[in-house]
Amino acid sequence: MKQQSKLSAEQQQQHAAEQQTQAPPAREFASAEELLRYDAAHTTVPPGIARRLQKSAGDLPAPKTSWWQRLFGGGKS
């Protein structure tokens, strides 16, 4: 009984080791869009863009008619 449980433990260890070395299961995408959506979700926007934009936008004068006034009310026209 003791030997049996030892074997079982060894088998379990072997099984666990095999599972670790096995390749991950294939992932399936029903369509190109689904695949692109997955890709987009795992794409990181470089943080440098925001920094550059902050500097560039800061150097610009703001529009005379505020866009946020048009969007959120209180616009001039």
């Binding site: 390749a23 991950p24 294939a26 992932r27 399936e28 995408f29 029903a30 369509s31 190109a32 869009e33 689904e34 695949l35 692109l36 959506r37 997955y38 890709d39 987009a40 795992h42 794409t43 926007v45 470089p46 440098g48 863009i49 925001a50 550059r52 934009l53 560039s56 936008a57 610009l60 004068p61 703001a62 529009p63 005379k64 008619t65 505020s66 866009w67 946020w68 048009r70 969007l71 959120f72």
Partner: protein, 188 residues
């Protein structure tokens, strides 16, 4: 050109108004930068150019936001600026597609063999495979798939962005999907 150049007069903005503008623009960027960067990345096929393009698109948007009429969603409006910008860049590079002049029979044969789902065993190089596939597609199909992949856009909005009827978009999308699957299968 789908977008006209900015015509608004400008004056310095300071104090609370400037802070409000900055906060709203930050929000606009946070909500849309991934979509615009992803379009630029996969459309231009160059991370550095995509980064520059995304910067330029949002800067244009910042300058033109006073011209935004609210007839389309902000996302659609940003896409329009991005598409124009990227298309201008591509035209200036005189880039050509590998299969753009391929015989129709070649396309038909390639597409006929692809009705199964897209299987991916290794996600590490998935981006490269996707890029390779998109690069091999006709430009029209590439843009169409990238836009339709954005769930925030309706077919009607995609149609407007590509300048075609919804029916034409559906037909082309069907072919684009099959062709994508055919080429993607060969990149494994």
């Amino acid at each position: 050109m789908l977008m006209s150049e900015p015509t608004a007069e400008y004056e310095p903005l300071t104090g609370p108004s400037a802070e409000l503008a900055s906060a709203e623009f930050s929000s606009l960027y946070a909500e849309n930068s991934r979509a615009i960067y992803y379009l630029a990345l996969r459309y231009l096929s160059d991370p550095q150019k995509a980064e520059d393009a995304t910067h330029d698109v949002f800067l244009k948007a910042f300058r033109k936001l006073d011209q935004f009429r609210g007839e389309a969603s902000l996302r659609t409006w940003l896409y329009r600026i991005a598409i124009n910008h990227c298309q201008n860049l591509r035209q200036s590079w005189h880039e050509r597609h590998v299969f753009s002049n391929a015989d129709d029979a070649v396309w038909e044969n390639a597409m006929a063999r692809t009705d199964s789902p897209l299987r991916v065993l290794e996600t590490k190089e998935l981006g490269q495979r996707i890029q390779k596939t998109l690069d091999a597609l006709p430009e029209e199909y590439r843009l169409l798939l990238l836009l339709v992949a954005d769930e925030e856009l309706s077919y009607e909005e995609v149609s407007e962005l590509v300048g075609q009827s919804p029916d034409a978009v559906r037909g082309k999308l069907h072919r684009a999907r099959k062709l994508f699957a055919a080429i993607f299968g060969k990149t494994a």
